[in-house]
Symmetry: C2
Subunit: 608 residues, 2 copies
């Protein structure tokens, strides 16, 4: 994988250009490479060897404590030591001012090593929110220690009745007495509520846990405003902070209320947390102590950037699970003989067995995995690079990057969750019966990956967002920017005689997408359009990936002199696989979109 | 589900006709219904409530014993008490002479209740092999007790180096001394070998275990013939049979050598068995004692009928896992509010939450599950009915049934394993985060179902068999019979104005299939053709299911007066869903088949 990452960064994503930007001027290609070397090594030594262990020895509650395997703490410490928690933060905040795309590439190695052990990125995200929107004292008391890994961070967003609709949040925050506004850590509130699906919600791996909590502040009449625009953001430490700015040892009233027993991704606990449980009385009073971040009512705005990055992170996790399964099944196919996989008819059953990798159908399953997971990796890195452009690009570049991200992020979040899960299923299939056992790693990749279609917004939610919102934004400008990029790639491909067929296919697919989008909205009835938002999301995803593959392949052809024939052969085959086997699938998805097919939305409850 | 099963049997599959056949003349629709009532009740009381338990408390080895939850024994006893082990056997052998299609429908309820507890069908299959091909004494000593559930049966086919290619079998059987041919239980041999993936391979749930073992008998020169045609079949009891025909208590040398720790389907152990391990010396001599069944060298022929039934059984298991997930997610969607599933854009986030089932995308996910699992159930029952026709139909009927089965069984085995697995994934998705936890049943269905694409022949193997063998057989006659049936259904549908679009779509799809089959073989180079055998299998599967759905729907329309509007509405919607969302997918699969796309088969090892 490293060879592909290096190629994508250096050639395809033009990382050398970034060094010219003032924010990154103290960096060099060498320092980027060293950062990746470190990540790769730590992932190999501290993550991957313990991936099965943390699945088998699922963290559990014993008395008042969470018990993790020792490997979990060691992985955390090693991740913190890599510096990646502070990678893209400012120097003055203790950060490394690395481009986000380099941080993302670094995280790819950890995620491939063990997705369940890779809780660092969400702590880094919490730190970024506090850095960006918190007060100087909040940064000092919380961010500083998050960036070194002394504290861990969590996001407490969902609730039993509000898994994703933040307007439905029922956690309440009341001003904590008369002097509450004068607390140096920020306006002090008392919180009551139940937060669900909190990743790494409670443990003893760190000196403290910093919870970022969404809650509503009731007005003088005791009522809250409607919907998400009344949601505020609070920082709620597990242990209270003393006057010296250090954890005082006194427990805040944030109580672990139970764990989800997941199908996979078991190395990371998923907790239900009770705020204001009553088990603790911080400062002698009931309710969990929380400090307002920024201004009241801006909670969602403050976390939106982080949620966008988390979506790219979820897509990256899915891509890396796909890559891990690909690498495992490839290694197996090179040494194992055919066993479960039948000889082709006409090949006598007493002829010698051949290695799996010589069977055409196994080649297909390996090539599909490579095309899915390398394509998804390229897409995530592209998105990360666009985030760098938003932050440090020239105004026109930043504006275009922002528009592209609007339509790409729903795809970057969703597509790998669906297709790299399929890659993991193919990895099992390459192994045959052996792949279905816990004696090999691929069934765990598959279980782990199933989460990615659910968390950080379901497929359905991203489909609604894409077709119901993003493609309409700014008079459809975001989609136009994307389609223009596809057209540019199609034109660029015409320079390479071998890519002309792909060029025509991409141009045709982009046209189908444009037409289907228009047709789907032609009646102006959102219910008719949005009933097929998920097939639309699937189709956009496949067209985007075809674009990514053709764009990558153009770059390969243009730099062929620097690349090995094997590398070139692999990339050409992936692109061809994608254009021949995958892209034609969009016909079925766009068909129902175009026709505003109604069979699902008209289905009646009593007909099932 | 019962309403659908009854409809399929009574109306669509013409079960009333079967009562007119002499073999079933003592039966009536009432006795069939009672048999199903019994199965449904036992499955509800003894299987379904323990499905999670047998997943969590995976059977394990303690000392010399296998430890199962008590529920496993109770489920076995209840299954045996249902009489289903002997359902389709002759009266004179202690059977019930039920049609195979009724037995299959009965098993559907058990499989839906708990696939891991449902080991009865394979014991019934072992009994059928011995009844059909064994001697009278073998029937008495083994089949009789298998049919009552006193003994359990296993199939010992695969080996570490021969998971599916029976020609690669290395288990050897040597004649056991001079008088070996005079043993009343059959020609006595001593077996040495290692058998893998033996379902329910060892346990203490029954008085004895009857292993059916494939092995080769070396000639006088110590060598065996090449390939599968030299394979013989042996019956190898776990405990030896005494002169009185009862288990003597002395252990045969069949030793449990380890268990596979599976991703799912954990209620049933998957064992590695060592024949001639040396731990036991039956009758004072080394080697496992086994008795030849029928004639040497006919082993594969003797098990082929049972393997065909087992393939239909595997498809049925996949279908019933799909159905179980559908029912669970439907029940959840009716009571749970939207939670994780976002409101559509334009619907303010303070509007009240609605039950999941009112969301268009949830409706889609439920309808897809219903279309997949009910369609697969119909296909399996159709195949079972064809097996009844082979056995008891008039000569022309039997001949046609045999031809149809040749091409349908690879689909019946494969299609549900792929698409009812997808149904299970959609069930998880309907639940959202909750579906990813072991607190709800759907993640287990999904894990359990992943086995079905692997065992009883992989997807790849069935694709090779279908495109490389079945469609060529008898000058393509089997495929022609299938396509003729599709055409007849398309014509029949023309009588119903609402079905004309479906009729045209099916006729067109059948034509595409015929054309792609011809194009794929047009160069006469098997390597070129068979490189895309799996996409071909996928396409045939989707066309077959479209045919099944249209045929079922014609029958619904023709009997609408007897059916409820809800039932009719559900079936119409399923068919429409299938024709609009699913059937168009064949374009992408048949494209590579038609073009004999070469990217996979030309992929080189060092390009990955």
């Amino acid at each position: 994988m490293r060879e592909t990452v290096d190629f994508l960064l250096l050639y395809w994503l033009g990382i050398p250009e970034l060094v010219d930007r003032s924010r990154f001027s103290e960096h060099s290609l060498g320092s980027f490479g060293q950062a990746l070397d470190t990540c790769e090594q730590i992932a190999r030594e501290k993550f991957r060897p313990f991936n099965r262990l943390v699945d088998a020895e699922e963290p559990r509650i014993e008395g008042d404590s969470m018990v993790h395997p020792e490997a979990t703490r060691e992985a955390w410490d090693a991740y913190a030591a890599s510096g990646l928690l502070a990678a893209s933060q400012d120097y003055e905040d203790g950060g490394m001012q690395l481009p986000f795309v380099v941080e993302t590439a670094g995280n790819a190695f950890f995620l491939k090593g063990s997705v369940g052990l890779c809780t660092g990125p969400s702590t880094a995200g919490v730190a970024r929110v506090i850095t960006a929107h918190g007060s100087a004292r909040q940064k000092l008391a919380f961010s500083t220690h998050l960036l070194t890994g002394k504290f861990a961070g969590t996001l407490c967003l969902g609730e039993p009745q509000a898994d994703a609709g933040w307007g439905d949040i029922e956690t309440r925050a009341w001003p904590d007495g008369d002097g509450h506004g004068a607390d140096p850590l920020g306006a002090r509130h008392r919180l009551l509520g139940l937060k669900t699906w909190v990743c790494a919600g409670d443990h003893e791996l760190n000196d403290n846990i910093v919870h970022l909590v969404l809650a509503k502040i009731p007005g003088a009449d005791g009522r809250t405003g409607p919907g998400a625009k009344d949601v505020s953001l609070f920082v709620v430490p597990k242990k209270l902070i003393g006057p010296d700015g250090q954890p005082s040892g006194e427990r805040n009233d944030v109580v672990l209320d139970g764990l989800a027993h997941k199908c996979g991704w078991r190395g990371t606990t998923t907790a239900r947390l009770h705020l204001g449980d009553g088990r603790h009385l911080p400062h002698g009073k009931p309710g969990a102590v929380g400090y307002l971040v920024g201004e009241a009512g801006h909670g969602l705005a403050y976390v939106s950037q982080m949620l966008r990055e988390a979506r790219i992170g979820a897509g990256l996790a899915a891509a890396m699970l796909g890559m891990a399964g690909f690498e495992a099944s490839l290694a197996y196919a090179r040494v194992a003989c055919q066993g479960l996989h039948a000889r082709a008819p006409g090949r006598p059953d007493w002829t010698p067995q051949v290695p799996l990798i010589e069977l055409a159908d196994v080649k297909r399953m390996l090539l599909a995995q490579k095309a899915y997971s390398e394509g998804a990796l390229a897409l995530q890195l592209r998105c990360a690079r666009l985030i760098d452009d938003v932050g440090t690009g020239a105004p026109a570049t930043a504006r275009e990057a922002r528009a592209l991200l609007e339509v790409l992020v729903p795809v970057a979040k969703s597509w790998p969750g669906e297709w790299c899960l399929e890659a993991n299923s193919l990895a099992i299939q390459v192994f045959g019966s052996a792949g279905y056992t816990r004696e090999f790693p691929v069934e765990q990749h598959w279980r782990d990956n199933r989460l990615n279609m659910i968390h950080h917004g379901t497929h359905g939610a991203h489909g609604l967002e894409l077709l119901g919102d993003k493609v309409l934004m700014d008079d459809g400008d975001c989609l136009t920017v994307l389609l223009d990029h596809m057209e540019r790639t199609a034109v660029r491909a015409l320079d390479h005689p071998g890519l002309r067929g792909h060029s025509a296919d991409l141009a045709h697919a982009a046209g189908q997408l444009r037409g289907a989008t228009r047709a789907s909205w032609s009646t102006g009835e959102p219910d008719e359009t949005l009933a097929n938002a998920t097939p639309y999301l699937q189709a956009v995803g496949h067209v985007v990936l075809a674009w990514i593959w053709l764009d990558v392949l153009c770059c390969v052809e243009e730099n062929a002199a620097d690349l090995s024939p094997e590398f070139i052969g692999g990339k050409r085959s992936c692109a061809r696989y994608f254009f021949r086997f995958e892209l034609p699938k969009i016909g079925a998805w766009l068909g129902v979109v175009t026709e505003r097919e109604s069979v699902c939305r008209l289905m009646r409850n009593d007909w099932y």
